[in-house]
């Protein structure tokens, strides 16, 4: 099927149009053919009538021979020097009785006598006047016995009846395509009208997403042919919604089950007194916490499609992250700086996810920063958040791979699991945005997270 016409409406209209064109051509040809047949047959009727008329005037003479004695009016017609009409009368056995012109007599004498059927003929460029004739040989049972009467008339002279028919065809034939066009317009309009509920259902379907997964397609207004399809789709949505619910429940339960023992462990370690070994244990617990957080985030990103339809102010969201992370950054001997337009930068997305992406970038930058360095966070009017550090930077060869899950650079000193940047990349992707890393002028890495503007 032609992919350019995937629309049911376009397909129906196209097919109907093709059908109508063929039907119109057939109808016109049929009318023209039938019309000319009728004209022909009208002409033949006229000729036969004349033949019968002529036969009336054939009499058997006292000598027993047959004679044609036409009244003066008719005689003039058949004997005119213009030779517009010709006649030839033969007896039932084919013997020539009389003819209006010698060449016509010679011509007709070669044909068999009429046998009860009409025998139409045509003579082109005939006789001394070189005219075209239509003619007819017919058997007439006259009072003088069976006769074979042949009459002919110059084509244009007998064309009156045919002319009438042709004129009728010429005057009315244009109505056929016009009628077909009108039918096509009505069909297109009615198709359009009938498909309206399908359009409405499509719009409803477009609104269904992971967030509005409870919406179902309306079955009431649909044509009965489409009801089974829509019902099946609705069932599929039911199962999808159940799947989402199960996944949400699972990640929520997993979060609860993992965090509770970790809380206890963390809190219990906090309660203990001193010692270098204890500090190490606290560090291990913190690392475990971080890993669990990131795994839960990854699980959520994988299982539940993200709702990115809210309007988010990138400036406020990013400022919130910087504000929230500053105390931690200071504890890591690092300062955060923030530059942004004074007006909001609106993007379409998920504020929580964007904040999470920025948080991961800041965390990463602080880990890479030398002690006392500043991590600079900016937001641009175009919807780009940059996070820049003064660390060792990212070698050209690793610039794609650092966004892969569990990827860790050789000789990486920090104890991350290699999930943070992959989370950023997935959040960027879910927003239709991007994440890139480049060299920061003056040394260090510069991460640019782009979220498309609203």
């Amino acid at each position: 099927m032609n992919t350019r016409f995937r629309s049911l409406q376009a397909q129906l209209v196209l097919r109907l149009a093709a059908g109508f064109v063929v039907a119109t051509l057939l109808a016109v040809s049929a009318i023209v053919y039938e019309g000319s047949q009728a004209a022909q047959s009208l002409g033949d009727d006229e000729l036969e009538r004349r033949a019968v008329q002529i036969a009336h005037f054939v009499e058997r003479g006292p000598d027993g021979a047959l004679h044609l004695t036409l009244p003066a009016r008719l005689d003039q017609l058949y004997q005119s020097p213009a030779r517009t009409r010709l006649l030839a009368v033969r007896s039932g056995d084919g013997a020539m009785i009389t003819a209006s012109a010698p060449e016509f007599a010679a011509e007709v004498a070669r044909w068999p006598a009429a046998d009860g059927n009409r025998h139409p003929f045509r003579l082109d460029d005939f006789g001394p006047t070189s005219q075209d004739y239509n003619g007819l040989t017919v058997r007439v049972d006259s009072i003088a016995g069976p006769l074979s009467v042949t009459v002919a008339a110059v084509s244009d002279a007998e064309a009156l009846a045919a002319g009438l028919v042709k004129r009728f065809i010429r005057d009315l034939i244009w109505a056929v395509p016009l009628f077909a066009a009108a039918m096509l317009a009505i069909a297109a309009w009615s198709i359009r009208l009938s498909l309206r509920p399908v359009h409405a259902a499509s719009e409803r379907a477009a609104a269904i997403g992971p967030v509005a997964s409870a919406v179902r397609l309306p079955v009431d207004d649909l044509p009965t042919e489409l009801v089974p399809l829509v019902a099946a789709v609705n069932h599929a949505f039911d199962r999808m919604e159940q799947g989402f619910a199960v996944q949400r429940q699972f990640t929520a339960n997993a979060a609860h089950e993992l965090r509770t023992p970790l809380s206890i462990l963390t809190a219990a370690l906090d309660e203990l007194d001193g010692g270098a070994e204890l500090e190490k244990l606290r560090g291990d617990a913190a690392r475990m916490n971080r890993l669990v957080e990131q795994l839960l985030r990854v699980a959520r990103l994988d299982s539940v499609p993200m709702d990115v339809s809210a309007e988010v102010d990138l400036v406020a969201t990013t400022a919130g992250v910087v504000e929230f992370m500053t105390p931690w950054a200071i504890s890591e001997v690092c300062l955060l700086g923030f530059d942004a337009p004074s007006l909001p930068v609106r993007v379409l997305g998920n504020a929580d996810a964007i904040a999470d992406a920025v948080r991961n970038l800041v965390e990463n930058a602080v880990h890479q920063s030398p002690a006392g360095g500043e991590v600079a966070v900016t937001v641009s009017q175009e919807g780009i958040v940059t996070v820049a550090d003064r660390g060792p930077g990212v070698p050209q060869a690793n610039r794609q791979r650092i966004f892969e899950r569990f990827w860790r650079g050789r000789g990486a000193t920090r104890q991350g699991a290699g999930l943070g940047l992959s989370i950023v990349a997935e959040i960027a992707k879910a927003h239709g945005g991007s994440i890139e890393v480049a060299d920061r002028p003056g040394g260090g890495a510069l991460f640019a997270l782009r979220i498309p503007p609203a």
């Binding site: 929520a252 979060a255 609860h256 965090r259 509770t260 970790l262 809380s263 206890i264 462990l265 963390t266 809190a267 219990a268 906090d270 309660e271 916490n289 400022a319 910087v322 504000e323 929230f324 500053t326 105390p327 200071i330 504890s331 001997v333 300062l335 955060l336 700086g337 923030f338 530059d339 942004a340 504020a351 929580d352 500043e374 966070v377």
Partner: protein, 225 residues
């Protein structure tokens, strides 16, 4: 100070009890929302720590019941769920703060203290950070036992920073507070005041330090680095 902990995980309850008792609180602990509601009808608490995942229902319901009853006791929600809707739901239902598990006990204690420091609470009369103390009634500031004299603009800034100890105070909030205080407000008034305040605190030997978060605001942290 009497504290109610509504939490079903016994190990967490034990740890909270020992930490808060050391911080000078009396701690009552219950394991279900129903017991929590009952305890609240007999005793007037200064603050409540509420877990959301309770065996007999959602802690949010207890929270809503308490607030409907006109009780304005500070409530901190402790939750293992961090989905946005949980946080928003908790704050909408009238919680004053929330902390996501796993949490540092020190953080929880300081958050509870911060809630109690809010206006309208007895503890709010004196703000403390390290060796720095701010009497919000008498408007005087002491480093250890030495009183230091500060201009009123710097006093206002210091009060805001101490009320949100360890958290960033956006510059806009400081500007609002100081609006009308300066005879001739200048665009760089806040940085100038903070600069003077920082020098005076350092000269007096105060342990907390004011950090600048460029583009955002300032924060006071108890011990440097």
């Amino acid at each position: 100070m009497r504290l109610l902990v509504v939490e079903d995980e016994t190990r967490i309850v034990e740890l909270l009890q020992s930490a808060f008792q050391r911080a000078g609180f009396v701690v009552d602990a219950v394991g279900t929302a129903a017991e929590g509601g009952e305890a609240l009808s007999f005793v007037t608490y200064d603050a409540i720590i509420l877990d959301l995942g309770l065996p007999d229902g959602d802690g949010l319901q207890l929270l809503a019941t308490v607030r409907r009853g006109g009780n304005n006791v500070p409530i901190l929600i402790l939750t293992a769920r961090d989905a946005v809707e949980d946080r928003v739901g908790g704050l909408d239902a009238g919680a004053d703060d929330y902390l996501v598990k796993p949490f540092a006990v020190v953080e929880l204690v300081s958050r509870i203290k911060a809630l109690l420091r809010r206006p309208g609470h007895a503890l709010g009369m004196t703000l403390e950070a390290g060796n720095l103390a701010f009497d919000t009634i008498g408007r005087d500031v002491r480093v250890d036992t030495t009183t230091i004299v500060l201009p009123r603009q710097e006093l206002a800034i210091l009060e805001l920073l101490m009320r949100r100890l360890g958290r960033v105070v956006p510059r806009a909030v400081l500007e609002q507070k100081l609006y009308g205080m300066d005879d001739e407000p200048e665009s760089n008034a806040i940085p100038v005041h903070v600069h003077h305040l920082r020098r005076r605190l350092a000269e007096a030997g105060a342990s907390p330090v004011i950090h600048t978060v460029r583009g955002i605001g300032y924060l006071l942290i108890e011990q440097p680095g």
